[in-house]
């Protein structure tokens, strides 16, 4: 089936640029007639993911795939990986340092927020092997 894909790099510790890819993705989607509510959910998930990678993960990339029936966002990084995924998915849990908290990050809402906003959410991670997230958003014949 025909689909449109694009990938963007995410850099470790770069909080000024983290989020830029999601903005590009948002603007790409805005040039289509996809429902703005869906675009917002995609952008929020992408943004949270980017911040997570920059903050904890290391270097990585975010990819979008627009199909006829769904949008898929994949976020992969080569960081330290997550030891306990169930714990990381809990609201309010965060390993962010004080420095990041001062900048307004680290509220422990990143992963739960992504889980909440995506129609399908899958996370794979183990210590030393990075983190790999796939999120799907149903378009239900929207495009």
């Amino acid at each position: 089936m025909a689909s449109f894909s694009k990938c963007y790099a995410i850099k470790k510790n770069d909080f000024i640029k983290a989020g830029d890819a999601s903005i590009k993705i948002k603007n790409l989607l805005k040039s289509t007639d996809i429902d703005p509510a869906i675009i917002r959910r995609v952008a929020v998930c992408g943004y949270e993911g980017e911040i997570n990678v920059a903050m904890h993960g290391g270097n990585g990339k975010i990819c979008i795939d627009i199909g006829e029936n769904q949008i898929t966002i994949k976020i992969d990084d080569d960081g330290p990986g997550i030891e306990d995924i169930d714990l990381a998915m809990k609201k309010g849990f965060s390993t962010a340092t004080d420095k990041w908290r001062e900048m307004g990050f680290g509220a422990g809402m990143g992963l739960p927020n992504m889980f909440k906003n995506a129609d399908k959410f899958n996370i794979e991670s183990e210590k030393g092997n990075g983190t790999h997230i796939t999120m799907e958003f149903s378009l239900k014949g929207n495009i």
């Binding site: 040039s31 289509t32 006829e68």
Partner: protein, 444 residues
């Protein structure tokens, strides 16, 4: 060739073909990609121009200018009132604001009026509005309605943020709504004989018909750039007194002004007069867009109010100013030191006006779209997205701009929308290459 063919107008600008050297700087600088040159010098403005003036700033030959007719447009049979924005004071370092006002009358206006009281009124009202409507999660952070270009940018690129625009009338609208009536009584002139002029650094305000932000259109008759009158005004002012500020250094001796009013033209000057420590001031095209993108993502919820200005450093960086923005900034700092930062107006009076609804706009911000006539692009289909991407891949260009579009991607989009031709691109046999690729895709 007739003048009509030589000069091309957008809603806000005038392009003089004979001065153009085809460098395409303006095309690349335009934030909404509203300029194209197709088929040798035939420049076109698309319906996406927001009047920001970037094209004027980057044009090396002066081919891109405002559509201002200048002071020659002054009709001597009318009673001409000039509304003087505080930015104008910053253009005359070490000259008293009152002398500037006097100078404006010498160059041909019957009356010059200072706007700054209304700026303070607006700041009070903003402060109160935020205080009373803080918990409205849908609309926060509120966006300042002051910069007309920001509002046009939002209309064009972020229409769902129009709800965030503070629904208060801008000071100049509040002011002009009253002034004709008052002057008519005081000077015994018929209201229809009064022409209201706005002297402004802002290119988006030059064609008054297009300055239709909320209620403004009803009052302002003509607008003129600060740089249109600068030299004449400078000569007149130097004749008036030739005294410098030191002679007036008696603190707040002049009750007409507060330092706050001069700060208005600076980035941060609007929020400086608003008691709210959760406000941010952002200036410059790039940063303003970056912040709007963030609000669009649902971020910055912890901020109450955003003062956004398209021009770098605020209105003193406007495309129609006469002196450099940093010199102007320093001039303002001196004025603030002399006049102090006190407020001139009594809160009780203003609160009464506020409760009477004096400040609220009568136009629904969501209607602004129609008022400006800024058009959005037709949405692209998934197939078109892929077509554009493929075309960009085939061109493999470096955004040379020969085609007359700002970059290869925009050119590809123009092609897919049927608004450009393959031959406009430097890549030889582009059409054949695209057809070949299409055939390959089919067989796959």
């Amino acid at each position: 060739m007739t003048e009509r063919e030589e000069n091309i107008y957008s809603s806000y600008f005038l392009y003089k073909k004979d001065l153009c050297e085809n460098c395409s700087e303006c095309i690349k600088a335009c934030p909404t990609h509203a300029i194209r040159i197709r088929r040798k010098k035939n420049l076109r403005f698309l319906d996406k121009c927001i009047g920001c003036g970037e094209c004027i700033r980057v044009c090396p030959t002066g081919a891109m200018t405002t559509a201002s007719k200048g002071i020659e447009d002054l009709n001597k049979d009318k009673f001409n009132i000039a509304i003087v924005s505080p930015v104008i004071y910053s253009q005359f370092p070490d000259i008293m604001a009152t002398d500037v006002l006097a100078g404006v009358e010498k160059i041909g206006f019957d009356l010059s009026v200072d706007l700054t009281h209304f700026l303070e009124l607006f700041q009070f009202a903003t402060e109160e509005y935020i205080k009373r409507n803080k918990s409205n999660d849908e609309q926060t952070p509120y966006i300042s309605p002051i910069c007309p270009i920001v509002i046009r940018l939002i209309t064009h690129k972020f229409p769902n943020l129009l709800k965030n625009v503070l629904p208060l009338e801008r000071p100049v609208a509040l002011f002009s709504a009253e002034i004709k009536e008052n002057i008519s009584k005081e000077y015994k002139v018929a209201e229809e004989d009064i022409e209201l002029w706005h002297i402004t650094p802002c290119p988006a305000k030059i064609i008054s018909k297009k300055t239709q932000f909320l209620n403004e259109k009803k009052y302002i008759n003509k607008s003129i750039g600060v740089n249109d009158i600068y030299v004449e005004l400078f000569h007149e002012i130097s004749k008036i007194k030739k005294k410098n500020l030191d002679l007036y250094c008696s603190g707040k001796s002049n009750v007409l002004f507060s330092g706050r009013s001069f700060e208005w033209g600076l980035s941060g000057g609007e929020i400086a007069g608003i008691n709210n420590d959760k406000s941010i001031a952002v200036s410059g095209l790039k940063d303003t867009i970056a912040y709007l993108e963030k609000i669009d993502l649902g971020l910055l919820k912890h901020i109450d109010y955003l003062e956004l200005r398209i021009c770098p450093e605020g209105c003193i960086g406007g495309a129609l100013t006469a002196i450099d923005k940093y010199i102007a900034k320093s001039a303002i700092r001196r004025l603030v030191n002399i006049y102090g930062k006190g407020r001139r107006l009594s809160k009780e009076k203003i609160m009464k006006l506020y409760d009477d609804g004096y400040f609220f706009t009568t136009v629904d911000t969501s209607e602004i779209k129609d008022i400006y006539g800024v058009k959005q692009n037709e949405p692209l289909s998934l197939d078109q997205l892929m077509e554009i991407d493929e075309l960009v891949g085939i061109i493999k260009g470096r955004n040379c701009g020969v085609c007359g579009a700002p970059d290869c991607k925009t050119f590809a989009e123009d092609i897919v929308r049927g608004k450009a031709e393959f031959e406009d691109c430097l890549v030889p046999n582009l059409k054949q290459k695209v057809d070949k690729k299409k055939a390959e895709n089919k067989t796959e």
